[in-house]
Structures are given as C-alpha cells and as structure tokens.
Amino acid sequence: MPRLVRTRFEFEGRVRESWVVVEEDPAADPLPDKEELRYVGRPHARVDGVERVTGRACYTHDVRLPGMVHAVVVRSPYPHARIRRIRAERALALPGVLAVLTHENCPPIRWGREGDLLLEPVVRFHGDEVAVVAAVDEDTARDAAALLEIEYEPLPFVVDLEEAMKPDAPQVRPQGNVRWDRATRYSRGDVEAGLREADVVVEGTFRTPAQLHNSMETHGSVVDWRGDKVTIYDSTQHLFGVRQRFAELFGLPVSNVRVIKEYMGGGFGSKNSLAKHTALAGVLSRQLGRPVRCVLDRQAENLAAGNRHSTLQKLRIGARRDGRLTAIDLEAYAAVGIMGSAGPIGGPARQLYACANVRTVEVPVHTHTGPASAFRAPGYVEGTFALESLLDELAARLGLDPLELRLRNYAEVDPTSGRPYSSKGLRRAYELGARAFGWEEKRRAGGLTLSSTSGAGDGGDGAPGRAGGGTTGQPAGRHGGRPKLRGVGMASQIWGGAGGPPAHAEVRLQPDGTVTVVTATQDIGTGTRTVLAQIAAEELRLPIERVRVLLGDTDGGPYAPIGAGSMTVPSMGPAVRSAAADAVRQILELAGGLLEADPRDLELVYPGRVQVKGAPDRGVDLTELARTLGNYMVIGKGSRGPNPDDYAIHTFGAQFAEIAVDPLTGEIQVLQLWAVHDIGRVVNPLTAGGQIEGGMIQGLGFALMEERVLDPVSGRVLSDNLETYAVPTVADVPPLHHAFTDEPDPVGNNLGVKGAGEPPIIPTAAAIANAFFHATGIPVRELPLTRRRVLELLRKHGIGPDGRRHRRGQAASGTGAGNGRGGGRP
C-alpha cells in the first residue's frame, strides 16, 4: 500500500523536506555477494550502443515533423539597452516567413522568479532574446532575422562581478546587484572564537571563472501544439520539470503536456529546466497551429543557455599548531547574471572537515550577463578549489604533508548534523590514491627541483607528443631539455548523490518472455538505460538481451526525477530493482498455479526459469510461462524508498595531480591524474569509469583553460564559440587513472548505490592548483591557469624563464608564497 511520508531530500548541496509517496519495497533483501552477481558490478557495453555508433540514435536536433516550422531567436548585441523600435515589415515580406514575435505582440507570459516577461522591451545581456522569427525553413528564418530593423538605446551596464558589487555600479535589477535578500547563510560554533584560538590563520581571496557548458548538442526543442494538447521534444535533463513548468506558463493541465527525449547530446546542468526558447516555440506553435522547431546555435548556447557562475571567495582558515582546524570562514559572491541563484559554494567548507566553527555566506550578484545555471557540481567545484587550495597553504605553514593535514581533520560524522555517515570511503580513497599515485615519493621528489620534464610537448596545442595517449615518463623529445617546475597536489571531494524519492518504475513481463522496464527517466548520456537494464536482468535472473528499457517520455512511464544532482542511478536503480522484485513475486505466484506448487517453495533462477527449490527438474521457463499467460501482462511496480533519517549520505573522493610548469611559456602540462571515488556500489564499472574520466577532463578544463571572457568596454562576451572558448581536446588530456572504493552503501537504498556524475569534476582543479603551488611555491588564487596568468604569477614572484627564483617575489601574499615551497619541508 502506498504511504505518504515526509522525508529529507538533498539536491546539489541543499536540503529540503517534502512529502513523498512510498510503497513497501519488495526488494528488501540486500543483493547477494558480488561474486554471485551476473550483471550488477560487471562492465557491460551500452544496450543502446548500436544506435549511438550508427547514427540512428534520434536526438532532439534530429526530430523532423510534418509541417514543421523553424524559429530563430534574434538576440541583443548590447549588454543593456532599451528597444526603441522593431520594424518587421521587410522580414515579414520575405516569402516563407510566417511570424515575428517581439515584446510588442508576445503574450504576457511571466518568466522566472523575478517576474520578468518572456520578451521584454529592455534587454539586459549580450544575447538576450529580442524577437523570434518563424519560417518554413531555417535559412529563410535566418534571412528574415537579418531583415529585422531594431533600434536600441544602449544603457549603462556592468558585466564584471566585482564591478557590479560597487555601490555606484549600474543596477541590473531594482533590488540592487548584491542580493543579500537571497543570500544563503550558515553558521555553527563561534568562528571569531575559533580564529582567536588558532595558532595559524591563513586567508585568501579566490576567483573562479564563468564556465560555459558547451554541450555538443545545443539546447533545442520542437513544440507541437494541437488543440489543447502539446507535445514537446526537448533536449532536457528533466522531462517532468519541463512538463510542469510549460503547463503552468500556458495554463494547461499537466496531463495535456507530453515531453519526449530519447537521446541527448549532453547537458551538464544547463538543461535542468524549461528553457525560454521552448516557451517561445510554444507561443508560436499555438499561434501557427504547426510544430515549431527552435534550436540554439553555438553562439546563443554560450550567451544565453546558462553558465557556471564566476565567484569571488574570501576564505579564512584557522588551525592549531598540530593542524586541527579551529575555524573556517567563507564569504562567497557569485555572478549569476540577470537571474539565478548562488550555488552551494560553501558546501565543502561546511561538510568536508571536522571543524567546530564554520561560517559561510553565499551571495548572488547580478551582472548584465546571461542567466547562470547549474553546471556539474555547482558551487562545489568553485568552493573546493578555494578550500583545498588554502588548506595546502596551511599545510605549508605548519610543515605538514597536505594529506596528513586532511587526515587530522577527517570528519567521522557529518559535521553539519552530527549524524553518522551511511558509508564513507574517503580515508580509503586517500590511501588507495596515495599509494597508486606514489604520493610520498613524488611529493619529496617534486617541489622546486628543476628538471628536464619528461613528456613535455613543444607548447603547441594539439601536438601529438603531448596527447591523451602519452605514457608518463616518456619524453616527447623535441624540447626535452628545457627546465620545468614539477609538482604534485591532491584534493578531496564531498558531494551528495544519495538520490531519493519520488522515483518510480514498472517492469513488464511481455507475452514473449522478454521484459520491459518502463519509466519516464532520462538517459542524459551517462548510460542510465544500460544500468537499469543490468539491475532488472539481475533481479529477474534473465539474460540482459531479454530486457528492454523504455524511457524518455512523460506519457510513456511513471514519474522519474531530474537527471541531475548525481541522483539518477541512486533514485531510479532502486525503483527498478523494486519493480523487478514485484514482478518476480507475481511470476512466482502465477508459476505456482502452473507447477501446482506453493509459490513460497519456488525460486527464479538464471536464465529466466522458475523452479521448485531443491527440485530443479520441476520448473518452467519464463518464456513458456509468459506464453501460458496468454496476453496477460505481469506488471511489477516499484518505488524508491525514503532515505534513512538517521544518516548523512554522501559521495567522497580524492584526486591527485602531477604537473610540470614551463617557466618560459607558462604552459602547465598535466602529467597524470589519479582519482579514487566512493560512489557506493558500482553497477557498471565501464560506464562509471567514463563518468570519472569525463569529470576529470572537465575539471582540467576548468583549471587550465575554460573561461568566459567579457569585454568590459562593450559588455559583450568575446568567447561565445568553440574557437575562442577553449574546451579540452584529445590533445590536452593526460593519462587518467581511476579506481573505486566500490563498497555498497549499507543503508541508503536497496542497491547500496550512490551517484557518480558530479563527484569527479569537484577536486580536479584544486588538485592541479595544489600541484602548481608545490611546483612553484606560488599559491593559486584565480583560475584558469592560462599561460598568461601563469607567466604573470611566475614573474610577479620572481621566477624567471629559466625557472630560477631571481629575487624575492614582490607579491608574496604572506600566507605561503615563497615559504610554502616543497610543502612539509619549510
């Protein structure tokens, strides 16, 4: 029987309580031992791999409907301007043009929590939506867009976070730029007292860039409005969220809105909710009575489809001489653009270490830039960089090994609640990682030693010699003799990833003896479909080839949560296992009739056979049983149960980086990265490994190259394409290594799984920054570590092109520059 319960739910670092319906879990028993498992815990190629490699997979970009109209959004070239006039006559006169939507004729639909309209007479960022042109094909729509005559009255603007915080800055919103009214505050203990108690206080101001998602598939939707029913094909991470929001905006019952997405070309948090272009396509589809396709181009994607907010973080850490932390004090500001919230930047400061006195505040700041959105582990990537960097400075001040310092502050219970962890493999991750990486030897060998670094390329991007394939320790040859500053660093990771209800699934036994898993979850590219097939096959003792997973359609299956927050596997996995167990229960009941046996005496064994326990010859194959059932379909139902109230559930990890800095060019070459993560039970090591590697690569991009560049003069985004915005290429990728602690979480859910998507991006940049500190003695306060920034740092601190320190750095921050070198050996 379904029950309504109140449960705590953590999503991306924020906890809230809500009502959820839960059902009795027929899969109450833990899974058998790992060796006995056939699918769960074993690598399995994607069940939809053939579609992906043959080009048959249908992405939202590929959706073509009869009579489909193409819409192109016209965007503001100014960061802030009043639209004086829009003349659409020439555009409308172009054959094939069907409609032009502007703020003058767009229905007054409210957009976002600040109460804006879909289209406003004032544009507030470069790329803001001005008009939408619909035409019979995309070329015509673009031609017509170019024919729109728009007069702007440019207005004062501010695009830089710190400029926007100044009292006389142009105001983005009437409430002011610094939104103290939307700040998130946290405090435990007494931070001032903790700082007074400290033998050492380190502090620093940290800056992180706005990172652009650049999913390979840009945002896009096809909206097909027929009568009072709407079908939306959307490249989204949250089918039900899009349905809910769209229905609200247009005053429709949710059941009249259907959202479909089978394959998706990446999202990374930027596709968490209904996007504005989808709503605009909805307006046009309703008006025109035809399906409307609106797909953003790469530039629009980078201007208007979300970004990781840049941050300014003022951090202080106090510690006793023995390294025990007495206080962590963080004041963080996030440039959220015209709309958005500050991510949980203080999450790591609050959660990572056993420190009695912690205070954090996260403040959103408006700038005339596109709305910020979640980006893979929002807040935690930025916060971990600051916290873990400053911790290394503290270690240097105290003469402690950075890893030892972390162990001395290891949190045995969740410091925010006092609750025990459901499971915590961080110590194991430290141990495994340090051993595999060779932490102690490398830490001793690195530091200031000038060396002819092996593996160094010639500094040319894309040079095959420094490629992803390189083996550590093999010189590339050409410039092998140049001096390099080598260093190693590490950083820790904490994140949620518990998953939770509501999440539902069905498992249907088809008349042909195959099984269909049905749920309206989404596979955003991580391998969800495969993992769910593995779980169902395991529970049903069926060859996985007989399991099919249907997903990606709100009308096609029961509710599933957003594909974000590292929660898909720990939410949907247990629901599918429950549904499969419910199906098994019914199958045994039915087989009991056929076999004239008490169902309690029956068991289901591989490959899909029901038999009498102890008498295997008395049995029936599932195929035969299903045939006997005629067209009756066994439907097992399953729900994700609530998380236990008495435990804190988190994922953990540690990453280690080895780098070489070229003091002549400023190039940082990452020689290798090592990651060990605790994500609970690993269902599919093959796809989970892909998550880890991909996260590290995005983290490397964040550390070394990714940065939205804004022109302070024009207020425009200068890096709005993949030419000017550098994402890692294959040639930027060092050897990557990873391992899992792979211990099932004993209490979180019926599979013992935790999330994997976000953890691996969290500590990478911090580990690289710490390696830089180790290599040069210069603490890193700002990312990305581009060559220009590295050269500036090196020279500022007196390190010349030969890698030698020629004079005392002018800008020694007093917290470790110069004396932090070689950490642990002050």
Partner: protein
C-alpha cells in the same frame, strides 16, 4: 505579427536579389554512401544541411556550424571534411561517406564495434564525427600509432570527455581490421541474443579493450 501571405514554395527559388550572374540553385550529381543523388540544391546550402535536411541523414551532427567541433565530419572522396564548411554545390561528382554508410545491415564496422566495446562515448553526439575521423585515418594508415590516432581525432571535440577511450577505440579498431577485418568484427557483434554465450563474448571484448587502454595509456583501473 503573423505574415499575411502564403509561403510560395521553396524560398530559395525566389528571384535573386544579388543579380542574374549568380545562380541561386545548382544542379549536382553525387553519390552518398554508394547511392547516386542528382538534383538541385540551393547554392549556399552546406553539405551538412544537405545531408541532414535534404537526405534525412541525421546521423551527421551539427555542433557549431563554424568548423570548430568536428561533429559534422564526413568523408568526401575519402578526405575527412567538416561538412558544415563544405558547400553541397562543391560536391558535384564526388563520393560522400557518412556514418550511415558504415554498417552493413546489422554488421557493424570494426570502428563502431570498438566504440561499443570500449564505451568510447557518453552522450554519443560527437560519436559519428569521431568515427568518421578514425575511418579517414585507418583507410590510409591501418596500423596507426597512438600519436597518430590522437592527431586524427584532435579536431573532434567531445564535451563528455571520452577522449582516452576514443583513442583506444581507434587502436582497437585497427587491431580488429588487421585480422579477419570487417567480418571478424561483425561476427563478434552477435546481437542474435545467444544468451550466456553471447554475453561471454561481449565481456571478453570489453576486458580486452580495457587492457588495451590500461596498458597503453594507463586508462581505467
């Protein structure tokens, strides 16, 4: 502002504004995946738009439309091109190969097989382009070094970060093609649902791939 007129057919057929000396439409005759295609295309249409919108071959992806990402990579006369930078009109008389031309029925090309085995993708959006880039490499150089494999896909972005596996898949494909070639790989595909045996073969392929990756570049553990 709804336009009051009815669309008059293909807008590309409207009179040229730029003067009579420019043709708005061009007759082309080419083969795509072995099939001949003859007809008129708008002069400005890219090969990418032609493939996706005129021929419905949506396996080739549009990631940027400006020659930066490689998602639209196809082969023209065996040469790897970004199809977003090539005009369809310039492909008259040429031979175009896209991802859809790689597999034969259910038999995957060894490159596709290698991608599948090694999970050399996540979202899969860049995958067709990566595969075509590797095909261009292997057609010319059946035994590439790791560095050559890296160079071959250096123009193909993968935001999910499947790079180490993509390189491993290129090398694995070379290996598969070196033996009995295409047929051997196709036999290993076996999506005939052979139960346990089929699964066994699949897993063996995976672990081989991981060793390859692990040994070659210290990949996953």
């Amino acid at each position: 502002m709804i336009a009051s007129h009815e669309p008059s057919g293909d807008p590309a057929s409207r009179p040229a504004e730029t003067g009579p000396q420019f043709r708005e439409r061009v007759l082309i005759d080419l083969t795509v995946n072995g099939q001949r295609w003859r007809g008129e295309v708008p002069a400005r249409r890219t090969l990418l738009a032609f493939l996706r919108d005129d021929l419905g071959l949506t396996g080739t992806k549009l990631g940027c439309d400006t020659g930066n990402c490689g998602a639209c990579s196809v082969l023209v006369d065996g040469e790897l091109v970004y199809s977003c930078l090539v005009l369809a009109a310039s492909c008259d008389g040429r031979r175009v190969e896209t991802i859809e031309g790689l597999s034969r029925g259910d038999a995957l090309h060894p490159i596709q097989q290698a991608f599948l085995e090694l999970d050399a993708y996540q979202c899969g959006f860049c995958t067709p382009g990566q595969i075509m880039a590797i095909k261009a490499l292997l057609d010319r150089n059946p035994r590439p070094t790791r560095e050559e494999a890296v160079a071959a896909v250096a123009g193909n972005l993968c935001r999910c970060g499947a790079y180490p596996r993509i390189v491993a898949a290129a090398l694995r494909a070379a290996e598969l093609m070196g033996g009995d070639g295409h047929e051997a790989a196709a036999a290993g595909d076996g999506d005939d649902g052979g139960g346990d045996g089929q699964r066994g073969r699949g897993e063996q392929g995976i672990s081989t791939g991981n060793r390859e990756q692990g040994g070659g570049e210290g990949g996953s553990s």
